[in-house]
Assembly symmetry: C2
Homo-oligomer: 144 residues x 2
DNA sequence: CTACATGCAAACCGTTTGCACCCTA
DNA sequence: TAGGGTGCAAACGGTTTGCATGTAG
């Protein structure tokens, strides 16, 4: 991601260019993982960027509607996660122990979607795939 | 699924055999789709099977822990869905319009899991895949 | 100057829990 | 008859909303 001011991007989506929105966008762009609203809240607070939690929720939903962010929902995790939408099709490895979320960029089922479209009379527009198990560290701990 | 009394199955998991549990299990076994707690609640109420919502929640979580049920979580759906665990690996087509959920039994990524295990140093134990788009009816409506 | 963004507090809603009572094993 | 199951009401926690104020365009 090139260094950029999010002003242009916000404007392109017809949104006012406010400090809060830029901070939230920046936080998500810089994160290697999807984040929850309160993770963003605490992270910004630590950096001295005070902001109300409800502002964060409102911003996350506005940006998601515009397609700038993507929602991620996981089983056994009651909070919604958000990530910057880099337009790169992506999936996740989720460690069942430490809950680490590792994005992977190869998608194994593009071909399969076409097949489903034809065989099931279903017009496919996308899919979500997450793979779960244990990361190397947690797997070692478990087997010891 | 053969006609059965769920008593044995419950006993096999060390659970007491109560009317409520049997009704909930039966509801899920008979359903072609995963159901939410309140869908089960209303469905049972219609059939004259009064039962407290919290009993349903407790039963769903007990049966899930035992592996008799599986949780399903979808983006843009705040409620958790539950389905009877037929031990058949399965995925879903989800219509973005009418929210219909169509289970599909072929899994396109068994092979890919092995690859991930090796390349990413991640011990894979499973995955979740859902495919979304529009069912035939809703797609027709949209394009007209 | 106006419409949209924000802070604050309260509401919302799916889910969980404490407690007294009930019932299965 | 003991220990788990259930109903009821209240709590919980993530998220949303109403309203008054602030601010970008």
């Amino acid at each position: 991601m090139a260094i950029m001011d999010y002003s242009e991007e916000l404007a392109a989506f017809g949104l006012k260019n406010t400090k809060n929105r830029k901070e939230i966008l920046k936080t998500l762009v810089d994160s290697s993982q999807p984040l929850t609203a309160d993770q963003i809240y605490f992270q910004l607070n630590q950096n001295g960027e005070m902001m109300n939690l409800s502002t964060i929720y409102r911003t996350l939903s506005t940006l998601s509607e515009k397609g700038m962010l993507q929602k991620v929902v996981l089983v056994d995790e009651s909070k919604t996660l958000y990530e910057y939408n880099r337009q790169i099709h992506k999936h996740y490895l989720i460690c069942q122990d430490c809950r680490a979320i590792v994005p992977i960029e190869h998608c194994p089922i593009a071909e399969y979607e076409k097949q489903v479209s034809q065989e099931m009379n279903f017009h496919v527009i996308g899919h979500r795939l997450s793979i779960y198990g244990y990361c190397q560290d947690c797997w070692k701990k478990r087997s010891s």
